[in-house]
Amino acid sequence: MSDALTAVLDWVAVLCLLAGAMLSFVASVGLIRFPDLLSRMHTAAKPQVLGLLLVLVGIGLRLLPEETGIFTVGTLAVVGLFQVITVPVAAHIAARVGYRTGRIDEDLLVADELFDRLESEDRATGTRRYRASE
């Protein structure tokens, strides 16, 4: 592989990694800045998927000139696959529990179409599972 091509790949790789690091940084700023759990979850989702994918591309580009073994490329693909599969599961469960335990700032909600459903369900079954904190 020619030196010029390697240099270009290196630059692209560094930019990818820089973008990934920036996403991580923005996510942590968002953690501090947003007032309730569900808003924070949105910023947390960024470095977990898009950031990691960028980093994986960066690693791949840096490792390409080194050795052409498919091992690294395959491993990177598997890492991306696992992350894309596992992150939504955790996000959904945390969001669901967060909503039900009232970890959501109602003053910032424009619309809440789930509230009515849960309330009518609770009235039907005679229980109250919803927003115990209030």
Binding site: F34, L38, A45, I85, A91
Partner: protein, 202 residues
């Protein structure tokens, strides 16, 4: 040796029933992951052994932990799948920028929980749509209304009625991309029927 001989055929039958539940395509997918984990695609002497062993382990896992089959099945449309991928990545980058912008602009960031009714009945499409929604920043699936396939989505940065409507339409567009890429003919027909009804009523 100590077990009474009468239970033998039952056991064989149970084993056979479990083996019948093994879904070959999924086992093959797991084998590919196994090969990737063990560097099996670089051709060496032990590659074939890795392949056989990986397939064996996949089948064993599916016998020990049987899962219900992927319900209605799916159909793979390569061209549409490519379009889905492009759409997905564009959405991901775009909403990353959006959330970043919202993070650094002062003032409260409004959000909303909206109910979006899926237009197809397939469980697989529902799962794919909610995975995609969770991965895209700015939307999280809070609750799934089971019998009638409604997704309750927490959406960041919807300031008013128009914002929630836009979020709803985005979700439907995502669903449409997914169904066109992976749905069976029935799903696509249902989607198109729902779409014509929607435009007539609107």
């Amino acid at each position: 040796m100590t077990r009474p001989p009468a239970t033998r055929p039952e056991r064989v039958q149970a084993l056979r029933r479990r083996l019948g539940k093994v879904q070959i395509p999924i086992a093959l997918g797991m084998t590919v992951v196994w090969m990737l984990l063990f560097d099996g695609f670089r051709l060496r002497e032990e590659s074939l052994g890795l392949l056989v062993l990986g397939f064996g382990v996949s089948v064993l896992i599916m016998v020990v932990f049987p899962l219900p089959p992927v319900s209605e099945g799916f159909r793979f449309h390569p061209w549409q799948f490519l379009r889905l991928l492009v759409y997905f990545f564009v959405q991901m980058v775009q909403s990353s920028f959006q959330v970043t912008w919202q993070t650094f602009t002062p003032g409260p960031v409004l959000s909303s929980v909206i109910a979006v009714r899926m237009r197809t009945d397939s469980e697989l499409m529902l799962v794919c749509t909610s995975i995609a929604l969770s991965v895209i920043p700015g939307s999280v699936v809070v609750e799934v209304g089971q019998p009638e396939h409604v997704l309750y989505i927490h959406h960041l940065g919807t300031r008013d009625e128009a914002g929630t409507e836009r979020a709803r339409r985005d979700t439907w567009r995502l669903e449409e991309r997914i169904v066109r890429a992976l749905g069976t003919r029935v799903d696509i027909a249902k989607l198109e029927a729902a779409e014509t009804v929607g435009t007539e009523s609107a």
